[in-house]
Amino acid sequence: MIRLDHVTHRYDDRVVLDDVDLELSERRIAVVGANGSGKSTFARLINGLIVPSQGSVTVDGLDTATQGAEVRRRVGFLFTNPEAQIIMPTVGEDVAFSLRRSGLPADQVRTKVAETLRALDLAGLEDRPSTHLSGGQKQLLALASVLVLEPDVLVCDEPTTLLDLRHTRQVHGILAALALQLVLVTHDLDLAADSDRVLVFDEGRVVADGAPGEAIAHYRGLVR
């Protein structure tokens, strides 16, 4: 359960989230809104990457402001740009890097890396330099580096914005099949329509919240 308790967030004097009060227990939650509406800030608050200026954010009762490390162990985060997420020079090493502090023996790390890469259609690319991957493969690698940690919640900030149609569909399929709570910030309304609940952000506030049909219709009305 993700809980935002009257959260306001400011960057200097600019209010980017204004008194957001939410409980998120659904399996798939989509977040839509115009650029600058506060979606990405909302996503970063859930992972504890930023802490609210006012109010509190908790994940399964853990406060992101005081228990950030424990929150991040439960909440994975996928960014828009995979280039900024890849740390190690080869595919296999990058996924294994996520497990460096897990204390798992090397053979278990290898097994988990191989299983994760297989699940994301990257099997056989373990020794491929990550810089030689296509944009879509890089995003899959970034996703693999998060999923290998087996998070309970996955927050994705516009994960398909930089991808071609084929890889967008592939990422859609993978995200849809995941057995975890998914919070998906997206401009892709088809993807949002597959969610259990859709939040519409506008100027830092949640202006619509509900079933995909109604919420997306509200959003379309905003941008008309």
Binding site: R72, R73, E83, A84, I87, T90, R100
Partner: protein, 200 residues
């Protein structure tokens, strides 16, 4: 632009544990700097380095790609030395330079980065008492290795962007935007590391 990455192989150098290889590299670099100071000694150093490369069975194309820059630099340095100091000093300095870089590159070509990091983690553990965080040092190394091609890619994008606007790309035009884009990348990377709990 790229930094040499490990190439798969089954030579004895590939099989040698990373820690032992790093130690041997350290000893080798000290010997090259301290002892290869005559034409005879420098020749021996070159022959030994060439033998190591041969034993590692690195593909010729990879070897050329990995060493061409240092060979170019060494040629320029050697020419300058020849002009000022004569043939023998030029040969010694050039040989020292090429051998020092070549054996370091050979270690990176025959060792996976993750193995190097593990070896560094283990090797630096005693320095914990002095406030050194081995995991942080090895992470810094990994970031340095992966950031070189990223910055190269940014430079390529900026060059193309300048050409697309009819501007001739040069150091003055590209310098500031490259620094800004590199800092933006560093910012994003830092956020991604935090999201992965690396600093927790």
């Amino acid at each position: 632009m790229s930094l040499p990455l490990a190439v798969s192989g089954d030579s004895w150098l590939h099989r040698m544990p990373a820690g032992r290889k790093l130690l041997a590299l350290l000893v080798g670099e000290v010997i090259v700097a301290a002892a290869a100071r005559s034409v005879a000694a420098a020749t021996v150093a070159v022959v030994v380095a060439a033998a190591l490369w041969s034993l590692a069975r690195v593909p010729v194309r990879t070897a050329w790609r990995s060493l061409r820059l240092i060979l170019l630099v060494a040629t320029l340095v050697g020419a300058a030395q020849w002009w000022y100091a004569g043939g023998a000093p030029a040969f010694v300095v050039t040989s020292q330079l090429v051998v020092a870089v070549a054996i370091a590159v050979l270690v990176t070509l025959t060792t996976r980065t993750s193995d190097l990091l593990d070896a560094l983690d283990r090797g630096l553990k005693p320095l914990r008492h002095l406030g050194v965080d081995p995991a942080r040092v090895s992470l810094t190394l990994a970031l340095a290795v992966t950031s070189v091609p990223v910055v190269g890619g940014l430079l390529g994008e900026l060059r193309q962007a300048a050409r697309a606007r009819g501007i001739r790309p040069g150091p003055v035009v590209l310098g500031v935007p490259l620094v800004v884009r590199t800092l933006q990348h560093a910012d994003q990377l830092g956020e991604a590391l935090a999201a992965r709990g690396v600093d927790d």
